[in-house]
């Protein structure tokens, strides 16, 4: 389902397997577990890369699992439960004491796109893969924390409108041009290489992790409030 690898100061969180990496309670729980391990082992200069194997980064919540509840109401409840369980994953990423990079080598859809967007840097493939919020097409609304995440991370209102109200399937070159991702490259290997290169450059700065996290939270005040994240003031000067 997912694994954590440590390469020097680099943490690599991988969604494993050739499947769609759908988030169900088990996978969400594993992700949270691995992220806590990352947090516990963090030092100055640590960086996280989140990546996936196969054609998909993640296709979002496990709708099959939701529908296996047997009724419309049961399915809606399971979907709501997953949205609630997923919130701490976003909260943990938002308060992780190190820079974070999403290496998107496949489709990032709905909660999968949300996971990617919760990282400080997004690097994507130009030749394959889309970013997509299909909620308008499948007629479900978005949880408040996902609204806040997109509002505060994506400054361009017409991009937010295109993603949420038009169900735009955004490819890498458009995502790069419109500022949704930092960069898009041709090929899976190129994306992974660029992510590691960026991670090394960020790691070299040896930032104070807790301060980094506090400054990051300050970028997203509305989201932080919804996620129940409090602020700490640090005054460690390193001149």
């Amino acid at each position: 389902m997912c694994t954590l690898e440590k390469r020097g100061k680099l943490f690599i969180l991988t969604l494993t397997g050739e499947d769609q990496h759908r988030f169900n309670p088990d996978l969400i729980s594993s992700l949270l577990d691995l992220l806590s391990q990352v947090k516990a082992q963090a030092t100055c200069g640590s960086v996280l890369i989140t990546q996936a194997q196969g054609k998909f980064f993640s296709y979002g919540f496990d709708l099959d699992w939701a529908q296996a509840a047997g009724s419309e109401r049961g399915a809606a409840k399971r979907l709501q439960d997953m949205a609630d369980l997923f919130k701490p994953v976003i909260a943990t990423l938002l308060s992780l004491p190190m820079p974070t990079i999403a290496a998107i080598t496949g489709h990032a859809v709905a909660a999968g796109f949300t996971l990617a967007l919760s990282h400080d840097y997004l690097i994507m493939r130009k030749d394959r893969g889309i970013l997509w919020m299909p909620e308008v097409d499948i007629a479900v609304t978005l949880p408040d924390y996902i609204n806040a995440l997109f509002k505060e991370k994506i400054g361009d209102a017409s991009v937010r409108r295109d993603l949420f109200l038009r169900g735009l399937k955004m490819k890498g070159d458009e995502a790069e041009k419109r500022g949704v991702v930092k960069a898009a490259y041709d090929g899976e290997a190129e994306v992974r290489e660029a992510s590691v290169c960026l991670a090394e450059n960020l790691g070299k700065r040896k930032w104070h992790g807790e301060v980094y996290a506090e400054i990051r939270k300050g970028l997203y005040p509305q989201l932080s409030a919804i996620l129940g994240l409090s602020h700490k003031v640090y005054a460690i000067a390193r001149l």
Binding site: A75, L79, Q80, I138, A139, A148, R161, L165, G167
Partner: protein, 239 residues
């Protein structure tokens, strides 16, 4: 005041307002709100709305003749405040409309009149004629906090500054670059036809109108929050 026509899946709202400047007073605003209620009542999956007007002006703001046709400054202020309340109700009606909306702006939109095109999901405008002019600063009027939140939902950064803090009369081409309008065309007919085609294309996606409206409200979350408009969560995916 205004007229509402149905052509196939399209609702066509034509603004006539008061006089050639299509000015807004409580009576005009109330008639537009009624027209939107009728569109809402008649809507189905696959509905869309286009708002058009004819002539030199799209909407030049509040009917200041009506506002000032009173005995005292105090009464004039009351009339102005009342007009503003009615405008706010109209914005709410547009934001909750259960279908995609397109504004085809073929003339000048100024002051309160700027709000009307911007409450649509998409704006197409004339390249060669017509400006958006937020003139509150020039008139010595503070923009109400609620409307600052409204503008923040539509644009950000330097574009937001240029829209509200420079007393600029901004043409279609510039607005396109700023990301405030989606496309520009030549001539009144060119814009209206393009607006209708856009609405048609959106209608063909056959989105669930109720869900569409709730997702849209999420894009105006700050504005809706200030008004205390609750969002409904709809959670049963329909494929």
């Amino acid at each position: 005041m205004c007229s509402l026509e149905k052509r196939g899946n399209l609702f066509i709202l034509t603004l006539t307002g008061k006089n050639v400047e299509h000015r807004l007073n409580p009576e005009v605003l109330s008639s537009i709100i009624s027209a939107l209620s009728r569109a809402k009542a008649d809507s189905t999956r696959g509905s869309a709305l286009v708002t058009v007007s004819h002539g030199k002006f799209f909407c030049n703001g509040f009917d200041l003749d009506w506002v000032n046709a009173t005995g005292s400054k105090q009464e004039a202020q009351q009339r102005f405040d009342y007009s503003l309340d009615c405008l706010t109700q109209l914005v709410q009606a547009f934001i909750s409309l259960p279908m995609p909306t397109v504004a085809a702006v073929t003339g000048h939109a100024a002051a309160a009149g700027v709000v009307i095109p911007l409450c649509h999901d998409y704006v197409v405008m004339r390249r060669d004629r017509g400006v958006l002019y937020v003139n509150d600063l020039e008139m010595g009027l503070k923009i109400p906090e609620l409307y600052m939140a409204f503008f923040r939902a539509k644009t950000s950064g330097w574009a937001l500054r240029d829209l509200v803090l420079r007393g600029l009369k901004i043409k279609g081409e510039e607005l396109l670059k700023m990301g405030i309008v989606d496309a520009v065309y030549d001539g009144e007919e060119g814009v209206i036809n393009a607006g209708m085609k856009m609405a048609d294309d959106l209608a063909r996606r056959k989105w669930d109108g109720e869900v569409y409206a709730e997702i849209r409200k999420g894009l105006y979350s700050e504005f809706c929050g200030m008004l205390g408009i609750a969002s409904k969560a709809i959670g049963t995916p329909k494929f």
